[in-house]
Symmetry: C2
Subunit: 349 residues, 2 copies
């Protein structure tokens, strides 16, 4: 297994991705890593991390360009053919790497992955599929911003993508698929939700999905489903709301703990618990966001990823590659297409 | 000032609204209250609250029917003309009360308010406008679920409604109006957001609104704006996400504090801070959700409202009535209409 890492992407590049690669080699010695980017910058970061020689199992693939935030995401990978992003994705396309991890621009990564590595045949769109914390564990939320406007077929396909991911990568048995909505009843929401509800219910009736019905954001966070299907706009609103609420409450908690000598003593007494608390909300612990629907593993690491985050994102790319989820989806693609699925359902009546 | 209270609405009716009325009379002695509902039930609740006689300033308006959750919200007010909901709203319409507070079905209240009390002339839709906690105070989020599908004009009108409410009722000077979006840049989001952005920017240029641009959910929670404009679907997703994340984190915090003797001691040391923490997230403290756009004050109290919540909702109805916001909106309605506002803007070019 060989994973390519974008050494130039993210707020702390190249040091964080380089250190992340070193950590991943320690933790997952069976995984080879390729650091993609400006060789001199990568070698400088390695020295900064205390490595004068390239450790065994890590190689460098030089790429002279860097995709910047100012670049047009839709065109960056094409305009900068020798960027770490384009070179890394091309390696995956050509089979020189089994997966790619980048903390660079989400839009550029998505556009590049779609046009270089390509979607699984028959899928209309790829989706950003991070996991969010819930009261009972975690849930996959997709789409989270790749597609601001969605059709019924997109949402139906996201349901399958999320379900396969939860089952094959996260190890959830019969993942409960919820449709993010503003009420639990079948008729709630807008036309998109009402039509999608019907399609998901049909898939459930056929035994193809374990559809748990409409799920409100609050209930999802309390553990009502394992996969939450959303258009990219409301999915992103939910993700950012959870992040914001977490930050808001952590700030309040911090203020409360630093108030006086008594509260500082309390903070000491709570040390272990506070660490757990922080860990649950820390995106670095999760790894990254899988780009589901792309034919090979591409993982978007958080922009502010540290070495732990890069290491976890590598683990995630390995898990996606091992799961064989892309093959499963390709095999079952007919179930996810509205023309065919609809036809079958009607034929079964 | 006289406020009518739906004595039959909410999880703890009639006791909670009756006790809320008693509390409101104590706190705001200049406000008269009318308890609307089944007289025997209301008198029973008064006795349970230790009042054998009807206190001064509180009257009862008998209404024999109750709108139930099972009733079709769109028709409930009409099908049950002698319900507490319909009678209360009719009192407001006829000037027998200056505002109405209900913890009953949101949908039925909204439909009833729209069709009995009526919208301010020229407004396309009324909006649910709760406030959400932020790192710097609170922000008005609208719409939050009344309108799952919105047009550019709806959103433009919500911006004005929220801005007037923040300025006149919450006392915010030049409220910063943000458009809930999935990125800060002008071109982010879907077609609805891009068009609405332009209209809000035009209103800003004319000096009619203080438009702060696109705001992500996370930044809104950290205090980026005073008014956050959303379609009812994504606004509701945001509201419920914040509620859910709050519940999730409170649960984690509780588990952490009850772990062992040491953490229980910590909980004691943090007592005051934890109370503040809980208060910030407690919907009962806020009062209710204003139905903005209705020509007279109608406040939706949380379904699980306790007496404090009802009392705060009464205060809120009084504040909305005193603010004169409905008159201001009626006066400035031309600014909020796309045909006219657009015409003016074009004429000014």
């Amino acid at each position: 297994m060989r994973i390519a890492i974008d050494a130039m992407g993210g707020d702390f590049a190249p040091l964080a991705p380089v250190k992340g690669a070193l950590l991943a080699r320690e933790r997952y010695p069976e995984t080879e890593l390729v650091l993609v980017g400006r060789e001199d910058a990568i070698r400088g970061a390695l020295r900064e991390a205390g490595k004068t020689d390239l450790p065994a199992g890590i190689t460098i693939r030089n790429a002279s360009e860097v995709v910047e935030i100012a670049d047009d995401p839709a065109k960056a990978f094409k305009k900068k053919p020798d960027s770490s992003l384009t070179v890394g994705l091309t390696m995956v396309k050509n089979g020189e790497a089994d997966g790619f991890v980048s903390a660079g621009s989400t839009g550029a990564l998505l556009a590049g992955a779609t046009l270089v590595v390509k979607r699984i045949r028959g899928l209309r769109r790829a989706a950003l599929a991070p996991t969010i914390p819930t009261a009972t564990g975690r849930a996959v939320l997709l789409d989270c911003g790749a597609n601001a406007e969605c059709s019924v077929e997109y949402l139906l396909q996201f349901a399958y993508l999320g379900s396969y991911y939860a089952a094959k990568v996260l190890g959830v048995e019969k993942p409960r698929v919820g449709l993010l909505n503003i009420g639990a009843e079948e008729e709630k929401g807008d036309a998109l939700r009402r039509e999608t509800y019907q399609k998901l219910a049909e898939a459930h009736a056929r035994g193809d999905l374990n559809f748990a019905g409409n799920v409100e954001a609050k209930e999802a966070l309390l553990g009502a489903c394992d996969v939450l299907v959303a258009d990219g706009f409301s999915g992103n609103v939910m993700l950012k709301s959870v992040e914001g609420a977490g930050k808001l409450m952590s700030g309040m908690l911090k203020g409360m703990l630093l108030k006086n000598a008594g509260t500082k003593l309390a903070a000491l007494l709570l040390k272990g618990g506070l660490r757990e608390f922080k860990k649950t909300l820390d995106p670095n612990e999760v790894g990254g966001t899988a780009l589901l629907g792309i034919s090979k593993p591409v993982v978007k690491a958080h922009g502010s990823s540290n070495e732990t985050a890069f290491c976890n994102a590598v683990r995630q790319a390995v898990e996606v590659a091992r799961s064989g989820i892309a093959d499963d989806i390709a095999r079952d693609i007919d179930k996810m297409r509205l023309d065919r699925a609809g036809g079958e359902a009607n034929a079964a009546l």
